[in-house]
């Protein structure tokens, strides 16, 4: 059993420790340190007591007949809960009050493929279709269930915008109080989306990294007692939500893996968990074991992981962000070292693009596929183009590129260069004069 010493801390265990919450976490067996392997009970802790390393959920996954599991999943609801047997959630999670995110479109992008010279097939995993229009609904849904199990009553986070909206909405649906923290320079669309759900929204004077630091201190203060910070003390559970992106892509491709995946990097959590999900699919026999390459995408104005990759380093030196891609503007990415490991292990790469290239890529995706991406989507599409141009990504291989949010949230990025073709009087003559006939 866990030995409670100080609020929020538990002692490490050698093997799978007994969990105090029964089967509320489904197949999850323990929390495990990615650095030193120490194991802990399933509690709201996030850093290893031994080495400060990140804790992640370890599983006793349902090894058995893959065909049976595939059918069970296919018969499930059209949201992430179809994968409940692979997630740290109770079996009846689909009956609980949450936003039921996921099962977003995998769009075959033939027009964009032609434009970029991709011949092996290109798909866009368009996560703007989630309830609050970003992939964050996936991770929040898992964290919310953990908060419910732990008896936490306030849902909170540090956010670059999308997460604040996802937490506010999930808390509203589930009847939790929410109090979320953002930098004070975010896009208006994201601020409004975070505030409209009625919880408390606090703008902090500083960068995202300042906000994140504040939240990390608040969690250790009596003022933060009983709070579930989805990306701090609930982060091990929260991160697991990103695995569902890997599961969905494989299932939507007919239970197989693509050759290449181009994924945005902020903290790096999403990329590392997509890799974890792909490895689980292989281990469970749900897909054929084949190589895949993971490519990371950053904005040049916040590219600490890309810089480390190009320099051959295995540590990431923090930077002070300056980019329009605010949802990726994390200068001190928690999972940066693991992202480097994954890109190198799989034979992928990490690239970055300028703000101008991000805007061009947003317009390219909109013009070719009718998908209006937020700036993070501009980063991934822009990086995809750069990877092809520089010979780092094989255009004859099948590629999935991620759009993690809706362009309506970042209108500021494109509005200076996007608008009416012409403003005319309501007459046919004026229309002809404008050269549009």
């Amino acid at each position: 059993m866990a030995v409670q010493t100080v609020a929020g801390t538990t002692t490490p265990q050698d093997a799978s420790p007994a969990n105090p919450h029964g089967d509320a976490f489904g197949p999850a067996a323990a929390l495990s340190c990615r650095e030193c392997g120490a194991r802990y009970p399933l509690t709201p802790v996030f850093a290893c007591l031994e080495c400060f390393g990140p804790l992640e959920v370890a599983y006793d996954l349902p090894l058995g007949d893959p065909e049976h599991l595939r059918k069970q999943i296919e018969a499930g609801p059209a949201n992430i809960w179809r994968y409940a047997p692979l997630l740290p959630v109770p079996a009846d999670v689909a009956d609980k009050q949450n936003l039921h995110p996921g099962w977003t479109k995998l769009v075959k992008a033939d027009n964009l493929a032609r434009e970029l010279g991709i011949t092996g097939g290109l798909h866009i995993k368009d996560d703007s279709g989630n309830p609050t229009h970003s992939f964050k609904d996936r991770v929040v849904a898992i964290a919310l269930e953990a908060a419910r199990t732990f008896g936490l009553t306030t849902l909170s986070c540090s956010s670059t915008g999308n997460l604040a909206g996802a937490v506010g909405a999930a808390a509203a649906r589930a009847g939790f109080r929410s109090c979320v923290f953002i930098p004070d320079d975010l896009e208006q669309g994201k601020v409004v989306m975070a505030a409209v759900y009625g919880g408390d929204l606090v703008a902090i004077k500083g960068t995202y990294d300042d906000v994140n630091r504040f939240c990390s201190e608040l969690i250790g203060d009596p003022a933060g007692e009983g709070w579930g910070f989805v990306n701090v003390n609930l982060r091990p559970y929260y991160g697991e939500g990103s695995k569902t992106l890997a599961y969905e892509i494989a299932e939507q491709l007919g239970w197989r893996l693509p050759d290449n995946l181009v994924i945005p990097i902020a903290s790096g959590s999403q990329l590392t968990k997509i890799d974890k999900g792909l490895k689980e699919l292989i281990a469970l026999g749900l897909v054929e074991d084949k190589p895949y390459k993971i490519f990371g995408a950053q904005a040049e104005g916040c590219s600490p992981v890309s810089a480390a990759f190009k320099a051959g380093h295995d540590v990431v030196r923090p930077v002070k962000p300056d980019t329009i891609a605010k949802s990726l503007a994390i200068g001190n990415p928690a999972d940066g070292p693991y992202v480097l490991d994954i890109a190198r292990r799989t034979g992928g790469a990490i690239e970055d693009v300028t703000d101008e290239q991000i805007v061009d890529a947003i317009k390219l995706l909109a013009r070719t596929e009718g998908i209006f991406a937020e700036t993070a989507g501009g980063v991934t599409v822009g990086v995809l183009r750069k990877l092809i141009e520089t010979g780092q990504l094989d255009p004859a291989a099948e590629t999935v590129v991620f759009n993690t949010g809706d362009g309506l949230k970042t209108l500021d990025a494109v509005s200076p260069t996007t608008g009416p073709t012409a403003t005319i009087s309501p007459t046919l003559a004026a229309f002809r004069e404008a050269g549009l006939a």
Binding site: L55, N231, V315, N332
Partner: protein, 91 residues
């Protein structure tokens, strides 16, 4: 010279549950050495076997991340506030 050090939850087993303690030293390295004298074992949690800051520990001296300055050699002015924070949050 004395500094006030904020202790994260996971290290409070070493400080008897105290969230804030005082320590002496003109540099971060000296402050950690001073912490170790009064709270045995805490240094090995913050520093790795080669004596460097562990990669998942963030340390701030008066709001400045020491990685942007001199790391363990960062000056700690008298009366400064030092914060030790797990780096694995956010995103």
């Amino acid at each position: 010279m004395s500094a006030s050090v904020r202790i994260p939850t996971i290290l409070r087993t070493y400080t008897g549950g105290q969230a804030e303690v005082s320590a002496d030293g003109g540099t971060l390295a000296e402050v950690i050495e001073s912490l170790e004298k009064n709270h045995t074992g805490i240094s090995a949690r913050v520093l790795d076997d080669s004596g460097k800051l562990r990669r998942f520990v963030n340390v701030y001296v008066n709001d400045d991340d020491v990685r942007f300055s001199e790391g363990l050699a960062t000056a700690v002015p008298d009366g400064a506030s030092v914060s030790i924070i797990p780096a694995v949050a956010g995103g």
